[in-house]
């Protein structure tokens, strides 16, 4: 189904990367991992992914900054980005919001806790 599409997961929660990565590998995707925004940026430079799953709240460079950077650069603008984070109603202590995510021109936005089927459906829609 995936034709070995390469998906990069960028999240500072290593258990999340492991869980989502395992699920995507089982569905035939090739999976790369990065654990903060700067590492994600470096990983994208080294190998262009077919899609990026991007957490928002991360150290060093957050997901919004990386997403904005990707969408501003003509060479990476067309890489689909799914923002994935615990914001809004689920986490009242954060200032991050759904509206902020949409303003970054992400291709989709999935709030945590992630429904894995929702994530896969969104991915398949974006990279088909």
């Amino acid at each position: 189904m995936s034709d070995n599409k390469y998906v990069l997961i960028v999240d500072d929660d290593p258990d999340m990367v492991e869980t989502v990565g395992m699920m995507l590998k089982n569905k035939g995707y090739e999976v790369g991992a990065a654990y903060d925004g700067i590492e994600g940026e470096e990983a994208i430079r080294q190998r262009r992914p077919d899609l990026v799953v991007l957490d928002v709240m991360m150290p060093r460079k957050d997901g919004y900054a990386l997403c904005a950077q990707l969408k501003k650069d003509a060479s990476t603008r067309d890489i689909p980005v799914i923002l994935l984070t615990a914001v809004g109603e689920a986490v009242p202590t954060t200032t991050y919001s759904h509206a902020d995510g949409m303003a970054m021109e992400a291709d989709d936005y999935i709030p945590k806790p992630v429904d894995t089927q929702t994530l896969v459906t969104a991915m398949e829609r974006l990279i088909s």
Binding site: D13, P14, D15, V20, A33, E39, P59, R60, T93, T116
Partner: protein
């Protein structure tokens, strides 16, 4: 130092922790009481380990909290049933986590070698689905971080100096990422079952930690994976280890341990399974351990060992109890179909 460094993804450091150990005659009932008291007081555990003694029914628990919660946690443990005076508080502890371990035994093998070479005595060790966490004293933290860059390499940090420069600047950002989930039923991303395992328990004097590290390196060379490991100090300052290793390699593991750790008698339990739960910001929230331990207790499943760190909680149960344990977890956690 290894001739070829192992490439890992990253490091997480939690400084300013209090670490508590307790040896409770009450076993899992005492553990349930401890977890319940801490959750009621909204004390978040950055790390929890539990090792049951299948012979006498007692259990050794160890947990880490923010330093500010250390004394409250201490009194909760003292008041828990069957614990009493067998509680020790170690203020000023650091949780040093590296990931992903990929179930490679060489990762902990190299860590134990590094700690031994640097004269660092770990207070405890815990594992999650992706990470290995080691507790060391605040005083040992700089050497511990530097030491990691001997056997391991990290993609964006070429040296400890790079890590310090990048990480220290961002500490305030990390502290702001505080979550406050209040679900009726705790949501998890997934439950992972790992069957066909044996549980090995060892009590090691400090001088033998390097030998265990060498044993894990030898196991790795033989293709033996390590999905679960916890360790904690006991009353006599020895270290109690519990590790899950594949049953199919039982004889090879026995020989390796006997060769690397002469005079140490491991206790071995056949046919166990590991259940791991991972949920959003589990590491930042109180009550996760209570939910797991209470659910198991109410369904009469006795955990043989527990590890809680990063954003996962894992329990080792007898293979015969897997279905019962899964049903139990379904009552306290919302698990995807």
């Amino acid at each position: 130092m290894a001739s070829t460094r192992i490439r890992l993804g990253g490091i997480k450091i939690l400084e300013g922790r209090s670490h508590l150990t307790s040896l409770c005659k009450g076993g899992e009932a005492a553990l349930a009481d401890i977890c319940s008291r801490l959750a009621a007081d909204r004390i978040n555990l950055s790390l929890l380990t539990y090792i049951s003694d299948a012979v006498d029914g007692s259990g050794a628990s160890a947990l880490s909290t923010d330093r500010a919660d250390g004394f409250s946690a201490y009194f909760h443990l003292r008041a828990a049933q069957g614990c009493g005076s067998a509680v020790k508080l170690h203020p000023g502890v650091t949780v040093l986590s590296i990931f992903p371990h990929g179930q490679k035994a060489c990762v902990i093998g190299e860590i134990l070698g590094m700690l031994t070479n640097n004269g660092i005595q770990p207070y405890g060790i815990a594992s999650s689905t992706s990470a290995l966490s080691v507790l060391i004293s605040s005083g040992d933290t700089p050497n511990g971080i530097d030491g990691l860059f001997g056997p391991f390499e990290f993609p964006t940090y070429r040296s400890p100096y790079d890590w310090h420069a990048a990480y220290r600047e961002q500490e305030h950002v990390l502290k702001e990422i505080i979550c406050s989930y209040e679900e009726q039923v705790i949501k998890v991303y997934n439950i992972v079952k790992d069957c066909g395992l044996d549980l090995w328990r060892l009590r090691l004097p400090r001088r033998s930690l390097g030998g265990l590290g060498a044993a894990f390196l030898a196991m790795d060379r033989n293709g033996i994976r390590l999905p679960f490991l916890v360790a904690q100090l006991d009353e006599e300052e020895s270290t109690l280890f519990a590790a899950c290793l594949p049953s199919e390699h039982r004889q090879k593991i026995r020989h390796t341990l006997a060769f690397q750790l002469p005079g140490i008698e491991p206790i071995h339990l056949d046919e166990v399974a590991m259940l791991s739960l991972h949920g959003p910001h589990f590491g930042d929230r109180y009550g996760i351990a209570r939910a797991l331990v209470s659910a198991m207790q109410s369904h009469e499943v006795a955990p043989l060992a527990i590890s809680c760190t990063i954003a996962s909680i894992s329990a080792v149960v007898r293979a015969d109890d897997v279905e019962k344990a899964t049903a139990a977890l379904g009552t306290s956690f919302q698990i995807p179909a």
